[in-house]
Structures are given as C-alpha cells and as structure tokens.
Symmetry: none
Subunit: 496 residues, 2 copies
C-alpha cells in the first residue's frame, strides 16, 4: 500500500479495531460460555485491553496522524474526498473529546462506575435503594464534571447523550415525546383486556423454533453464530463475524423467540453497514450511526415482523406442534400482542414501552441538570409510575433499581429506545410505500426483499448521516411520533 | 508487593500470560463458535497477538529482568531458592529459543498456520488433498527454517518436538516404539472378531450422557465449561477457567462420550497443576510438563476408566434408556472395546491406536528431514495404512486429511499420544499398587480418591520433572512399553 498519511492513519485505526474486536470477543465469551470462576482473570484481561485502547485513542501519535491526513487531504484531489473529510471530522471530534477530559477524572469515573455497578447489584438483591444512592450521586457529580470539562455548546445532559445519539437536543425530545405522553395513556386504557394463557415450551423446542425463525429470515450460518446468555445481545466481532444471543425464560414461551428476532434486527443492521472490508471496519463512517437507529432495526424485526398477524399465521403450526394451546393463528397473534401497563421496561409491550422511557428520561435530566436529589429518586419514580402508568412498584428492585444503565453512569441512553420505536414506525411507512404492505411481504415470505430495502435505504449510510438526517432522507419527513401513533392505533383496532 | 527483581519479573510474566490467555480464548472461540467467514479477521487478531507475544518473549527488557532476578537469587537466602532457580532456568531456555527466531518468520508462521487451518478444513470438506497441499508445504518450509534458526544440538524434527516433549530424541523413540511395531499387529490379528452393532443415540441424548459422565467424575460447573467443536480439545483460559469440547459423530454412539472422558482427563491434569494463583499461572513450573504426560492423563480417563468393565456396569442402565441394544453390561463393555484396525485415529481402539501414531511419526520425520514431498503424502499415507493396518482409505478426508495437527504446523506432536498410552499404563500399575484395583475403585465410585492420587503423584509436579523423570519418580522404572503390552494382553484375554 502507498505510504500516504491517509494509509498510515488507516493502519493505526486497524490496529485499534483489532484490539477493540478482541475486547468484544472476550466480552462475548464472558457472557455466553465462561465458567463463573473465570471472572477474576477475565477482568485482568479486559483491564489490560481497556488500558491499551484508551492509550491508543488519546495518544499524541494518533492526534498527529489525524492532523497529517487532514493536511494531506486538503492538498490532494481525490474523488472520495468528501467522505474522507467526513471520516477525519468524526475522528477529530472523538479525539478532541478524549483529550479534553482530565485523565484523573477518567480514572475516578472508571472507579465510580465499577463501584456503582457493584452496589447497584447489591441494592437490587437486598431491595434497598439506600445502598446505591450515594454511589449514584457520586456518578452524577463526576459525569456533570465531565460535561463541564467537555464544554460543548450543549446542556450537560445533552453533552452526555452525544455518544449514543449524536446531535440530540432536549428541545427535539420535548417536541417529539410530548405527543406520546398525551396519547399513550388513553390508548392503553381503551385496549380490550386479555388474559395471558399459562403455558410453556420445552427449552430444546424453543431453541429449534429460534433456529427456524432465523432460517426463515435467511440467516447465513457462515456469517452469524447464535448462543445463549443471561441478557440477550448482538455483537460484531469482525467484518464478517456476527453474533447474537437469546435466553430461555421459564413460563414465557415467546421470550427467546422475540429476543432472537430483536437481536437479528441489530445484527442485520451491522451486516448491512459498509464494513465489508477491513478498511471500512476501521473507519468511523463504516459504523452504526446511533443507538436509536440500532434500536429501530431490532424493534422492526421484533414488532413489525415477528408480532404481525401474517407471521403468526406462518408459524402457527410450528408453535402448535410445541404445545401452543391456541386454536387459531389469530389467537396466537393476539397473545403475542397483549397491551397492558406494567412495572418492567424490558417486558413491556410496544405501546406502554414509551411511558417507561418518558419517566426515565425526565428523571435523569432532572438529576443531571435540575433539582432532583438522588435521595428523592425512589419516591419520584414510584409517583410518576402511579400517575402515568397507573401502577406503583412495591419495592425498589422492581422500581428505580430495575435497570443497569445508571449504575454504570450511562445517562442519555434511555431515549434511544423510544426514538427507535418512532424511527421504526416512520421508516416502515416508507418501506410499505416502496415495496408493499409488511403483512403481504411476510405472507409471501419476502424477507430477502425487506432486507434488500433496509440495506439500501438505511444500513448502507453508516455514520454519513445522523439519525435525524437519515429519517429525513428516507422518509422526506422530520422524525416525529406521528407514524408510530398511527401504527399503534391501527394495530389496536385490528386486535379488537 | 515488594520491589524485588523477582517480583518485577513476575509482573512481566503475568502480562505475558494475560496476552497468552487472550490468544487461547480467541482460539477456543474460533473452534467452538466463530462463524466460518470470521476466519480472516480472526487471523488478523491472532497474528497481532502472536507478534506481541513474540516481542515480549524475546525482548531485551525480558532478558534483563531474567538476568536481574538470577543475580538477585544468587545473593539471597530463600527457602524456595531451588524452585526459583529452576523457574529461571526454564525461562532462560525459552528466552534463548525465542531470541533465535527472526520476528519476520514468526509473523509468516502465524499467517501460514491460520491459512493452513482454513484450507485444511476446506480440503477435508471437499475431500481434496490438493487444496491443502501447497499450504502444508509452506508450513513445512517455514518450520524447517525455524529449526534451522534455532540451531540446537538436535535434528530438525527433534528441535520442533521439544516444546511438546522436552528432551525427546529419535533414538529414544526408536527404542520404545520398535517393540510396539512388532507386538501390536500379531496381537490385533489374534483378537476374537466382533461385529459392531449398528445403532445410534440421538444427539441431544448424547449431550445428556456426556453431562452425566462429567457429573459422575465430579466436575465443577463454575470451573469447567463444555462446548462442541469439529475436533475435541481441552484448553485452560485462566487460573480458574477450564474448557473442554466434544463432538457428535453420526453412527458412533460412544464417540462424544469417550471424547468427553478423554478431554476431562486433560482438564483434570490442568486443574491439578500448581496454578491456583496468578503467580503460578505465570511461572513455567506451574505448567504441564509435556504433551505425553498430558495424553497419559486423558487416555487414563478414556481407556482405563470409561472403557472398563465396572464403568460399563455403572452406566449400563443409562445407555439402555437411550436405545442401546445390548442385553448385559458385559456386552456393552465388549462393544466399547472392539479391537479392529480402522482408518481413523481418534476413533481407534487402544491397541491399534499405536499403529496410527507410528505411521504419522515416520511420515512427518520424512517430510521434515527426509525426501518425502508433500505431493506424495496421500499416496504414502494410504500405502503405509495398507501395509501396517491392512486397511486403505478410499478418500483423503479419511486418510491424510483426518487430523488437524499438521494444518497448524504442529510437527513432533503425534508421538505424545503413543507415549501417553505407555505412561498411562505404567502409572496405572503404580496407582493400583497404592490404592487398589481400578475396577474396584470404579465399582465404588471412588473418583475423588483417584483424582486425589493423580493430583499428589502426577499433577502437582508441574514442570519440575520432565516426562521421563516423572515416570521414574512415580514408578521407580524407566519408561518402556512393557506395562502397556502387559495391560493390553490382559484386557484381550479378559474380553475373550
């Protein structure tokens, strides 16, 4: 390869990517296969890699390489100049961010996250928020300090949300989420009540069903491996190495099936990114654009595809063979779509899901920027659940301690989940305009056609467009909650 | 920790061990879970780590640390001085070896191994040795070059065998193996013929039986993970992180079961090594002494335990429940011990096994040191099987492509398997003298007692003794084929 500044920078990034993907492989193994007592040594391995990675990402050498490539670009004529400039800008942005933070703060934060996670686990186990409270306070203070050091032209909470959702603002959220806060509760109230059947599927049969599901969607075994883990996830370990997990939950016969569909959606996005060569795998533009877009893809496969009527029809026999008690596919479909406000975010249906996110988003903005003291979090959480969802946690473990995110100092992450629902709905409308109704596509088993459309309208852009730009480009409309609300109203009518 | 030269060296070794165990984790994942198309990027990761490791193991810094520790040791009084000196000697030996090899060769080898493995897989699948042949040739050339660079006072093949079997010489092999080449064929000829029953066990049921087997032996799930791989193996990924694999072979109802017993034996040796702390995991004396001793432990559990009459008795009902057609445990036992020359090493019985090794050992010595061209390997392989075992492969996938070793550039490894049989037999004689007959121990399910004896007579020595010294220490006799031949003759009589 030619000894240009650009190629030197690429070689540096590739080595960083090799290290990063080794880290991901260790993480994958830890969550799928590692015996419990391997955890101490695994922590040593992960710490070793994390230190190496941080050093590479904030080194003077890296800064110089970016600079040289930038200078070289400005003097060269290159038909890919625009894209190259965009890559350099993203690298500069991240490098500057890394450099702005005091290494002492990085160290303090690493420690606080580790302590936070540890004490959150204990607090959840003991069902005692007071155990976690001082550590949460410390995490908030340190992350406020981080936002302060970053000194961006954004509010502190917005600054912290950027790595998950670039260019996200509170005013955008406010505009987009307000409609949902008004629309969802009355919709939920009017949904026809439906009792959940008590039945289950043998774990081995669930695995077979998950495998059939992936075959139906057209997975390539030589590209995608599947395993089990306590929390389902999707991960990419190389340009041609994709992995997803699922989990079997006793008494929840659809859980592993829907988790598989969800993680498949994440993976098919990653598989569609412009990452076919190591070159792109290493450069920022080859990566996913935001968590919200990622969620939109997983939610699309989980809710729009797998929870659809046509899909229930196509898998009805296979479920019946495994002891599903329903007499018709419509009954099966209805059981996969019970809408009912509950306490738990992860187990929530499509409709009530948004309310869980609204509460978390408001609370964390108030804790980071407003007057909400961590000591009042449990009270505020319970109160808002009562007001918005009409249910009240009896204990903090099913209330403000249920999610892991804050214990790791992750603020600004939650909105991505709800934005994902909105993006999925808005993009789906366009998809249906382009290639026909989703129900028909499923009826005809046109998954290849769906994937082809997603590849060419969503996935291929990588980070060249942020989430809002992507939605505008695809749908010709600004992102809003309209398509989502319309979709939900139709589905509720249909389910009636 | 005190800032002694010894501790500084320990810290250095620990970081090397972290890298080495990351390499092992990547290897584990590659063989158990990685989707096929992940192989190119995995090769990049493995090359990266191999380069780092070689750099660490041959660096001036490392040499200086060993030197300083050696000087410090000579002036200090230390009650563990003898052991520390032995550690330093082993480190010096390996350091010298590493320093001799050109880093460029290391990189070439890493890549050639990865490509070799990849193309061996394809060649085996397509049953086409020609696909693999050029890669094997490349591996042989590179490893010959390595032996050349090492310039030890040994033949090239002996030089390459040292890491597996320290102090092994061709003349020792000649002395030990010659008896077997003469004894086994007539023994095999006179064994009472027994027709193999045609039956099978459902793959899921095989997994359950393997799990029962491990439970019977006393495995700890928090220490040992199990998976499937094309070629069963055992690996240690941390001081408290052990893994084994098995594989299901269609039409071979005992295959996964015996492979599990075999790999358990490897793992229980590793688990019994003085490696409980990171300190020992990092120092050479905490490691296994040789592949032959390793094999002796796996073969012990496979053949002496699992293929014994008492064991067949104890698992008879469990096999019957899975469709085993035999009317008595003695019939089951006899089917597990059919002695008949076949094409496959891994599926071979205890008696004909040695012949598979004799052929491979001769072939690789001729490829490394003699005139055997890789292009003639398939022909030579088939010819020697015909002459020594009386069977001839119809295709290379069941001939010279059956084993993985050469595809990873591992020459000098095969004799360990046969030496393992001899060591297992000789050590078993002593074990029975000390704690009673193996049949009785199994009858009483005294696996803990067996493991305790092995821990205290074999495992605990780590690398303080080489394999020949270990055998002499345990049995008071030089290693020979005598105990093995005696054991085989008795077993054949018993089976009659």
């Amino acid at each position: 390869m030619e000894e240009t500044a650009w190629n030197k920078l690429g070689a540096y990034l590739k080595e960083t990517q090799i290290l990063g993907s080794i880290q991901s492989t260790l993480y994958w193994d830890q969550n799928t296969t590692m015996p419990k007592e391997g955890s101490n040594w695994r922590a040593e391995q992960l710490t070793y890699i994390a230190k190496k990675l941080h050093k590479r990402n904030s080194s003077q050498e890296f800064g110089d390489l970016i600079n040289s490539a930038e200078v070289e670009l400005s003097t060269l004529k290159d038909d890919k100049k625009e894209i190259k400039v965009q890559n350099i800008n993203l690298l500069n942005k991240e490098y500057t961010r890394q450099k702005k933070i005091d290494p002492l703060l990085v160290e303090k934060l690493a420690r606080a996250k580790s302590k936070g996670y540890q004490n959150w686990q204990q607090a959840k186990l003991d069902n005692d928020y007071e155990i976690f409270q001082p550590f949460l306070k410390e995490l908030i203070n340190l992350r406020k300090e981080e936002a302060n050091q970053l000194a961006e032209d954004l509010s502190p909470w917005e600054t912290l949300a950027q790595p998950y959702e670039p260019d996200l603002t509170k005013s955008f959220l406010n505009k987009t989420f307000t409609a949902l806060k008004e629309t969802i509760p009355p919709l939920l109230k009017n949904v026809k009540k439906r009792k959940k059947e008590v039945w289950d599927i043998d774990p081995n049969a669930q695995k077979v069903l998950c495998s059939m599901l992936l075959d139906e969607f057209g997975r390539k075994k030589e590209l995608l491996s599947v395993a089990e883990s306590p929390h389902p996830f999707s991960i990419t370990l190389g340009p041609r190495d994709f992995r997803i997990t699922t989990r079997i939950v006793k008494g929840e016969p659809f859980s592993s099936f829907l988790a598989t569909a969800h993680e498949w959606g994440h993976s098919i996005y990653e598989q569609g990114l412009p990452s076919q060569t190591h070159q792109w795998f290493a450069w920022p533009l080859g990566q996913a654009t935001s968590m919200a877009v990622h969620e939109s893809q997983s939610l699309f496969w989980e809710n729009r595809i797998t929870k659809s009527k046509s899909f229930a029809k196509s898998f009805f026999k296979r479920f019946s063979n495994q002891g599903c008690p329903h007499k018709s596919y419509k009954e099966l479909w209805k059981e996969m779509n019970i809408f009912k406000a509950g306490l738990n975010r992860v187990e929530a249906d499509e409709l009530s899901y948004g309310l869980h996110i609204l509460i978390r988003t408001e609370l964390e903005i108030e804790m980071i920027e407003g007057n909400l003291d961590t000591r009042d979090l449990s009270y505020e959480w319970n109160n808002r659940y009562k007001n918005l969802l009409g249910v009240k946690p009896l204990k903090d473990s099913e209330g403000c301690l249920q999610d892991v995110h804050w214990s790791e100092g992750a603020f600004g992450y939650f909105p991505s989940y709800l934005l994902g629902h909105l993006i999925s709905a808005q993009i789906s409308t366009k998809l249906e305009n382009d290639i026909g109704s989703i129900e028909d596509l499923i009826e005809n088993r046109s998954y290849e056609k769906i994937i082809f459309w997603l590849n060419n309208n969503v996935h291929k852009y990588g980070r060249t467009l942020n989430s809002m730009e992507l939605v505008l480009k695809v749908t010709n409309l600004e992102l809003s909650s309209e398509a989502f609300i319309k979709y939900m109203k139709n589905k509720i009518r249909d389910l009636d």
